[in-house]
């Protein structure tokens, strides 16, 4: 049976809570209501009030409490109703969760997960891609799955990890993509990128919803005779440099595509890393297709102009292939 991205996340939560009684879920409206997107529907009925905790609207309070639970040996999962609200608990994540193992050897085995990304007319406070604030924070792990398989397998890995993991679920993908998942327990390791499509003319590095945009673009480019390799980063922190560099060694050209805004996006870091480590492998400038350096606008025409799409990726890739 085909499983959606959203359903895969719920399966991961169900199965991890079944497997390990130290796993708890906390957040706003995650219990009775089952979460704003219904990711946690059915969990309260299954696991009860002690393990599925409806909280006040207090992101700092919730994440702080999760850190404390982690200190005491639990593995809480916190839902941000929309990932935009993670800004409210920035201090708990960057000053306490991220630093505590480095400073005094206290692991913080928590997961903070929630819906990110645009394309659903959420407007400037319900569409953000705030991953890079946290990629700049040593001590955190930042995960951005693009498929149902990865969403399930990586959420399980995140829950079992001893470090604070931020798990960005792209809400455009929640019910739009699905696939057959294997029966039984499986995990996907954090920190490993994957070549989703092989090609020899250029490499597109992307993640989350933009992976699908990039794959669509690659299919179009194939008709023009351009063979595009597409890498799904899957984890932004720690970044899998080896997979990127190995691909550049084959294709010699790099285009990075992300829905996050341009300045300070992961493309800049990848470009710096590639020029430092593989300058001799490059046969063209590193290009990027990203969102504009603006808040996410609301109107359909504005948001479409703001975000990358297949046409923008195809145009940039074509130009780079012919460079």
């Amino acid at each position: 049976m085909e499983t959606t991205y959203l359903e895969a996340i719920r399966q991961a939560l169900f199965e991890e809570m079944e497997r390990d009684p130290t796993v708890l879920l906390m957040g706003e409206d995650v219990g009775v209501y089952g979460g704003a997107f219904k990711v946690s529907a059915g969990l309260l009925e299954r696991f009860g009030w002690e393990r599925v905790i409806d909280t006040p609207i207090s992101e700092t309070g919730i994440v702080g409490a999760a850190v404390g639970m982690g200190y005491a040996g639990l593995r809480p999962v916190v839902e941000m109703q929309f990932i935009d609200f993670i800004a409210c608990c920035f201090n708990q994540l960057t000053n306490i969760a991220a630093k505590s193992h480095y400073l005094w050897g206290a692991p913080v085995p928590i997961v903070v997960r929630g819906p990110c990304g645009g394309g659903v007319h959420g407007g400037p406070f319900h569409s953000a891609n705030p991953e890079m604030y946290f990629v700049h924070t040593p001590g955190l792990k930042v995960v951005c799955p693009a498929t149902a398989y990865d969403a399930k397998g990586m959420l399980k890995s995140a829950i079992r990890d001893n470090n604070p993991v931020l798990f960005f679920e792209h809400k455009f993908l929640y019910r739009r993509i699905k696939e057959d998942l294997p029966q039984g327990d499986f995990t996907v390791p954090l920190g490993k990128a994957l070549v989703r499509r092989q090609g020899r003319d250029l490499t597109i590095v992307s993640y989350a919803a933009m992976l699908h945009t990039s794959l669509e673009a690659a299919a179009q480019l194939e008709k023009e005779g351009i063979e595009t390799e597409v890498i799904d980063l899957r984890t932004l922190l720690p970044l899998d440099r080896e997979t990127i560099l190995a691909s550049i060694a084959r294709t010699n050209k790099l285009l990075v595509v992300h829905e996050d805004t341009r300045t300070g996006g992961i493309a800049g870091e990848i470009a710096a890393m590639v020029t430092e480590s593989a300058f001799e492998d490059l046969d063209g400038p590193i290009r990027r297709v990203t969102s504009l350096d603006t808040p996410v606008p609301y109107a359909e025409s504005l948001e479409q102009y703001f975000r990358p799409d297949v046409a923008k990726v195809v145009a940039a890739a074509r130009e780079l292939a012919h460079y």
Binding site: E45, P56, G64, G68, M69, A72, L302
Partner: protein, 403 residues
């Protein structure tokens, strides 16, 4: 009056108070010799709050001190050498030189969560520890401190509201030392008593003379007992006075001389010594013995700290992530099966008993749905296409008027 404390306990309290004071005086000397890096924050005059509150806890309970609560660290079993090496950034310090001041902790044995410099944030953290302790059946209480200044943070509000709504066994000590750096309390908070803030959260609360260690122990024990009995969090406002500047660099000229003189009369150590004498709990010989013990201990620990090497530079790059070097262990004091399905399954519905009953009641347990998450009621949609922009609008407005 001393009914709840034995003579030995009274003497132990004196030992910790005196050790706290002497240790800090020793650190001032080391600071002046440039052997302590960064800042040095004094708890002079506030020792009774650190020592007295921590003294009210049991060994399984947890604390998260603030930077000035060195006395609480001592009560929890940290040794002066750990405080000294930490301030001096030596390799033998609890953080191996990665952090300074009293920013260190110990999860598994002494149950101390390390302070951070961001005020208020440990209130939610200790709420979480309290919730976890209850979940695991440990019957523990957690305690943390906040200054008068820290009561104005958002984390203070979020933490207390969460603790109160969860009835978490948390005791919060508001250590009102009259000054947030240079700002007096009346310019921070429009309340005569900070304890009034507890009312807003529906919490129990008390005010205590923070310079009277016996009163502090009594109030803290009472609060801890209430929290442990499941009556929810308790806030104690301990009134005191910061007798030094914010840190060593600050001469605190903004403090009126009269105010300082008044509080000098209330020195917690002087008062406690008088109390011990008046209640015939000790004599000059006992005092001399304890003081000599402290002096010897400090001498040895200062020597240890001075001989401890600086951390090797490469250590800076290590330990950002836990890669199996530490374990995450939950100490269960209730059967794990208690928490696994289907025993805990309930119907997901609020039931309001009456309009004035604030706590939700649960309906009786109903059979749980199938484990298999394929059956959770959310149907997947086929892959949709987003509508392309502009199709619906007939007119394309100019883009010049962007601002």
């Amino acid at each position: 009056m001393p009914a709840t404390l034995t003579r030995e306990q009274h003497l132990e309290l004196y030992y910790f108070l005196r050790l706290n004071r002497e240790l800090e005086e020793q650190m001032v000397r080391l600071f002046r010799q440039n052997k302590i890096l960064g800042g040095l924050y004094s708890s002079h005059g506030q020792e009774a709050i650190s020592v007295g509150c921590a003294y009210a806890l049991g060994p399984g309970d947890w604390i998260a001190p603030m930077i000035r609560n060195i006395g609480a660290l001592l009560v929890r079993g940290f040794k002066p050498r750990e405080v000294l090496t930490q301030h001096m950034a030596r390799f033998d310090s609890p953080t191996r030189g990665k952090d300074g001041t009293s920013h260190f902790g110990d999860l598994k044995v002494r149950h101390v969560v390390a302070p951070t410099s961001v005020l208020g944030d440990l209130i939610p953290v200790m709420t979480g520890v309290a919730m976890a302790g209850r979940y695991l059946g440990q019957n523990i209480v957690t305690m943390t401190w906040i200054g008068d200044g820290g009561t104005s943070t958002g984390a203070f509000h979020e933490g207390l509201n969460l603790a109160a709504s969860q009835k978490a066994p948390l005791v919060l000590i508001v250590e009102n030392n009259q000054w947030a750096y240079s700002t007096p309390v009346e310019r921070q908070v429009p309340l005569r008593n900070l304890v009034d803030r507890a009312k807003a959260y529906g919490m129990e609360s008390a005010i205590v003379d923070g310079n009277d260690v016996v009163a502090v122990v009594r109030a803290a024990k009472d609060a801890v007992a209430r929290a442990r009995a499941g009556k929810g969090p308790v806030l104690i406002e301990a009134k005191t006075m910061r007798m030094e500047g914010h840190a060593q660099h600050d001469s605190a000229d903004y403090v009126p001389k009269k105010m300082r003189d008044l509080w000098k009369q209330r020195d917690p150590l002087d008062r406690y010594e008088k109390y011990l004498t008046q209640n015939k709990l000790w004599d000059a010989k006992t005092k001399k013995e304890i003081d000599a013990r402290i002096a010897a201990e400090l001498r040895a620990d200062v020597e240890f700290a001075e001989n401890s090497p600086a951390p090797p530079a490469e250590l800076a790059a290590l330990g950002v992530y836990c890669e199996g070097c530490h374990t995450v262990d939950a100490v269960w004091n209730r059967p794990e099966e208690d928490l696994q399905p289907p025993k805990s399954s309930v119907q997901a519905e609020w039931r309001m008993a009456s309009t004035d009953a604030p706590a939700p009641a649960l309906r009786n347990a109903k059979p749980a749905p199938s484990v298999h998450s394929g059956n959770t009621g959310v149907k997947s949609k086929s892959r949709g296409k987003s509508k392309s922009a502009g199709k619906s609008s007939q007119r394309r407005p100019g883009v010049k008027a962007g601002c």
